[in-house]
Amino acid sequence: MSDNRIIAGSGPALPAPVGDRGRAVALIALCCLLALVAAWSVTLGTARFPFSRVLGAVFAFDGSREHLVIASIRLPRLLAGLLAGGGLAVAGAIVQAVTGNPLASPGLLGINAGAAFAVVIAIAAAGAGSGDVHVWYAFAGAAAAAATVYALGSAGRSGGTPLRLVLAGAVLAGFLTSLTTAILIFDQGTLDAVRLWTAGSLSGRSMAQVAAIAPYTFVGLAAATLSRRHITTLSLGTDIARSVGQSPLVWRGLSVGIVVVLAGGAVALAGPIGFVGLVVPHIARFCVGADYRWIIPFSALGGALLLVLADTAGRMFFGSQSFPAGVTMALIGGPFFLWLARYRAGGRP
């Protein structure tokens, strides 16, 4: 199964990527772009505000209606998009590094399935509660599912392999998804209540939800940034990792922990969005090569950018505040990804 280890996909066939300086410049440029898009996104909506108003609402809040709209609707929505997009993309990059499988995404650890299952159970059993509660159900479901997958994939004296982790994830995710669908088929009310959440949407996020999740995302991002060298080593495969002195078991466990914190929080905020975690790391890999020291920061910025852009575009072009960002994201990111995959992936020309 050698040529499927994704690191090979961006090997010699790629034109030598720019050096570290070029990558650093690109990273700064991406930062600026993200800031611009974020600023633009806050000014757009049912009513347009000049950017000075937005600054005013942040730094000199006067309780006027406009300031209220900005502070309690627009800003939480933007922040939720930034946190969820960045978190999911970094989580996806780490899962792909750990498993060496291009089909891997946070969903493979059962995160999306676990979150969806918990939310559906909660709604079906207790009726549609407030969004604040969903956040914690989703987080708890995601964490429980990922812990089960990790236990199943790594128990025993041999300590598990990426293959077993991946299979355990596919097994649990399939199981939970089927249970969720079985509930939804018989319960039209719950289906109606969750279908927008399932599509991935940022509408109606409150500052309280964002504040609840933000610490987890920051801890996860910091941990991912600190361990980016080890993640690169891990991505070379168990044998190489062991021969350069890394303990793959310890670092695999640690990486899964980071993924749970990042992706669990993101799914709790934005719903089970599959696209970011799967595709953004590939895009980053196409652009900066197979080195996770660079893939991780590029994924964080790229994921945040894509999700905010998708949410803003959905609001702008479809005129609906609750248009699911998961859909616009695939529409924007999909063709770009296809173009990259066609021209930059694979051993032969």
Binding site: M1, S2, D3, N4, I6, A8, N101, P102, L103, A104, L108, L152, A155, G156, R157, S158, T161, R164, V166, L167, A168, A170, V171, L172, G174, F175, T177, S178, L179, T181, A182, L184, I185, F186, Q188, L191, R195, T198, A199, G274, F275, L278, V279, H282, P324, G326, V327, M329, A330, L331, G334, F337, L338, A341, R342, A345, G346, G347, R348, P349
Partner: protein
């Protein structure tokens, strides 16, 4: 290998007998034997239930399971990825989008169009993935990545229909998407059997080629294999097999993913043995799923596609757990 095949055949026979006997009306063993051995002497309604309702349904489940398992085995070998399944070629995403369009966007359309629409969707998707990943040759990685991209585009469209469609149509579509053999009849069984016989035999004859292509491209090419041609042919085969299965029964997930893994744990990786064992395992899995889905919570029915995961997943989990001390 022989004891394993024999055990699977016995299991299949037992499952068939149970599928024919159990249901809203339980048929006693002696009447069941009579209806099969000497139909002229059996009661009219028993005959009707066993031969016209339950037998085609059990056979359709068997065929669909075999087809999905073989397609999954091929996909895992050619894509060199343990997570590969027919869905990787966009078959599920294409079929789901076509079905959603037909049910939600064109609610007036006849349900008889559903199999044809979903087969067309699956075929179009697989063709598009192959065409987009062809650049003077293909590579497994490029096909996988293009598959991810196109599937997520189609998935976005499906999600859009799910989120904003009429809720009753959405629920109907979800039931079809969950995969079920409830509307089986002899015409469907004959058509599917006829359609599958060629591709399944071809797949089995190609077992040695699949053994080779599991190595990387360079090794396979060095051993004299025309890798690109083989990849094109196997993808075509995979589409024909699983596209037909999806058209007949909707999206029965999971069989294509786990039946090959179960079989590999039973008989090892050589495809000449793997393929028949995977086919029997897949057939048994879907048959058992349909039987459980229609009896356990009767009179309500759970679609077989959901039950395959509900019984298949714990079983594979048990296998993983049981072998946790075995290195690699």
């Amino acid at each position: 290998m022989k004891p394993i095949v024999a055990a699977l055949l016995v299991a299949l026979a037992g499952l068939s007998a149970a599928s024919l006997a159990l249901g809203d009306v339980t048929i006693p063993a002696d009447e069941l034997v009579l209806a099969i051995v000497n139909p002229a002497a059996a009661a009219q309604d028993t005959l009707m239930i066993v031969l016209e309702l339950r037998l085609p349904r059990a056979l359709l489940a068997l065929l669909v399971g075999m087809a999905l398992a073989v397609a999954g085995t091929i996909a895992q070998a050619v894509m060199r990825n343990p997570l590969a399944e027919p869905g990787i070629l966009g078959i599920n995403a294409g079929a789901a989008l076509a079905a959603m369009l037909l049910i939600v966007a064109l609610p007036g359309a006849s349900p008889a169009l559903l199999p044809w629409a979903s087969f067309a969707g699956a075929g179009a998707m697989a063709a598009a993935i192959y065409a987009l990943s062809w650049r003077g040759g293909t590579s497994s990685l490029r096909i996988i990545l293009i598959g991810i991209g196109l599937s997520s585009l189609a998935g976005a469209a499906t999600t859009l229909l799910t989120a904003f469609g009429e809720i009753r149509d959405v629920q109907r579509a979800m039931i079809w998407l969950a995969g079920s053999v409830y509307d089986a009849d002899w015409r469907k069984v004959r058509l599917l059997a006829l359609w599958l016989s060629g591709p399944l035999v071809l797949a089995w004859l190609g077992a040695r080629e699949l053994d080779l292509v599991r190595f990387d491209d360079d090794t396979a090419r060095g051993l004299g294999q025309r890798v690109d041609l083989l990849r094109a042919l196997t993808i075509l085969l995979c589409t024909l097999i699983s596209g037909a299965a999806v058209a007949a029964a909707g999206l029965i997930g999971f069989v294509g993913l786990i039946a090959p893994h179960l079989a590999r744990r039973l008989v090892g990786p050589a495809h000449s043995r793997l393929m028949p064992v995977a086919a029997l395992t897949g057939g048994a899995l879907v048959m058992a799923a349909d039987l459980l889905g229609r009896t356990v919570i009767a009179p309500a029915q759970l679609p077989a596609g959901l039950v395959t995961a509900l019984i298949g997943a714990p079983f594979l989990g048990y296998l993983l757990w049981g072998r946790r001390h075995v290195p690699a």
